[in-house]
């Protein structure tokens, strides 16, 4: 096999961005648990959750944005591929959202002393998941394939501004219990050194690439099942 077929074919398991994803996540897991972190009150060692919890929200937003773009593409030019991509990226976004909530809950138990609080970010994320669960319900309730694709694309585009307002604008209007908000010790530029930044951004990129990888596999399975 030529280099072209191995590293630059997106379907190949050795495509360059899949290798990048693997190396980044390997780096994150190895360094994330062993590297030096600042000693902060309350947070202590749980600050390492920064490498695993926050990237989930980066990933969720990225995948829902990609799903939104594919919904627009579907309405401009209806193809089965755009519809499948839109729904599979939404699924991946929901999956990252669940992981984000779970990693956050265990962290909250260790630092805030409870799994669930009235923190605005936490609840906004949960409501955001409800919006996209409604999308899944809507898809389930329509039998005709073209109608399902078109109507759910309309809902996906309609829901995205509300999701952005909910997750990115509203929590900024109130104090959050999250580190770095409302006077809590946190991950702001003063206590995040260069090494932490490197691991943090590697993790963000690595998890997004991993999600894209999984989604492309699921899209290919869906297309094969249609035949």
């Amino acid at each position: 096999m030529s280099i072209q077929q191995t590293f630059f074919n997106h379907r190949s398991p050795l495509a360059w961005w899949k290798i990048v994803s693997f190396l980044l996540l390997l780096f994150v897991v190895l360094k994330g648990f062993t590297s030096h972190v600042p000693r902060l009150a309350i947070l202590n060692e749980t600050i390492r959750n920064l490498y695993f919890h926050v990237p989930m929200w980066f990933g969720m937003t990225a995948f829902l944005l990609i799903a939104f773009v594919h919904a627009i593409l579907y309405l401009r030019k209806p193809t089965a591929l755009a519809d499948i991509r839109s729904v599979e990226y939404t699924n991946m976004g929901l999956c990252f959202g669940v992981l984000g909530i779970l990693t956050g809950m265990f962290w909250a138990k260790a630092t805030w002393g409870t799994y669930w609080t009235s923190d605005p970010k936490l609840n906004a994320a949960a409501i955001g998941m409800l919006i996209y669960s409604a999308y899944i319900v809507l898809r389930g309730s329509i039998q005709d394939e073209d109608q399902r694709a078109r109507i759910s694309a309309v809902f996906n585009i309609f829901a995205f501004p509300a999701f952005v307002a909910l997750v990115y604008i509203l929590p900024r209007l109130t104090d959050s219990l999250h580190p770095g908000n409302g006077g809590n010790p946190g991950f702001n530029q003063y206590d995040r050194d260069r090494e932490m930044n490197l691991i943090f951004y590697s993790s963000g990129l690595g998890f997004i690439l991993l999600g894209v990888w999984i989604t492309t596999l699921r899209v290919r399975v869906r297309i094969l099942m249609r035949k």
Partner: protein, 222 residues
């Protein structure tokens, strides 16, 4: 062209509402009985309600009343009439007329809700003008979201509960902002405190209406 069609459709909505007065009357009956259920679930202690409880119960009432008023937006449309619309008017005019009509209707109903609710439960609101302004903005936003969700649910098979599933999660950001802003108005805080929320509410209304306007033609063709 679109403006003219919208005006004609609006006229049609109003005359239909006048012809089917029982729908509006049943809405008032719903409002009245809900308020009485609330009154007796507080053991008849309406006049001494804690302001915070008062506010949350009031927003619950507004949310559900608006939903009941607006969720039927497309329910009356028979397949014959839909076919007629398809040949006579553009989808843009149709959604604009539905949006304007239901936003106006729900603002009117929210004013009636305010009247009935504050008769039964003594109102702790200090800055009434601001409070009603926030209420009008929020309820118009509710109506816009519910109208579009009702349209989506109508196209998905006319399932009434589907419009609740689709619209309630999207309503929550609006409700959060409205409750925060109206809490400040209730406590009589300076008007500049609620400015951010009001601006955001207005922005979300504009976004909802324009997104509905852009998307509805695709939905209606489906």
């Amino acid at each position: 062209m679109i403006l003219k069609e919208t005006l004609i459709l609006l006229q049609k909505e109003f005359s239909l509402e006048w012809k089917n007065r029982h729908i509006f009357q049943s809405l008032l009956l719903y409002l009245g009985s809900t308020i009485f259920i609330m009154y007796y679930s507080f053991l008849g202690k309406g006049s001494v309600l804690n302001p915070f409880v008062w506010l949350s119960v009031y927003w619950l009432l507004l949310t559900f009343t608006t939903f009941n008023a607006v969720a039927k937006a497309f329910l009356g449309e028979t397949s014959g009439r839909v076919l007629f619309y398809g040949t006579m008017v553009s989808a843009e005019a149709l959604i604009l007329s539905k949006l304007v009509y239901h936003m106006a209707l729900s603002v009117l109903i929210s004013l009636i809700s305010w009247l009935l609710f504050s008769i039964v439960f003594d109102s702790p609101v200090q800055d009434l003008g601001l409070f009603l302004g926030i209420q009008a903005l929020a309820v118009a936003g509710f109506a816009a979201v519910i109208t579009m969700s009702a349209g989506i649910a109508y196209k998905a098979g006319g399932n009434f509960s589907l419009s609740a599933i689709l619209s309630f999660p999207i309503l929550i950001p609006l409700i959060i902002m409205a409750v925060k802003a109206s809490k400040a108005a209730m406590d009589g805080l300076d008007r500049s405190v609620s400015w951010d929320e009001m601006l955001l509410l207005a922005a979300l209304n504009v976004i909802t209406v324009s997104v509905s306007y852009l998307l509805f033609p695709y939905l209606w063709k489906a």
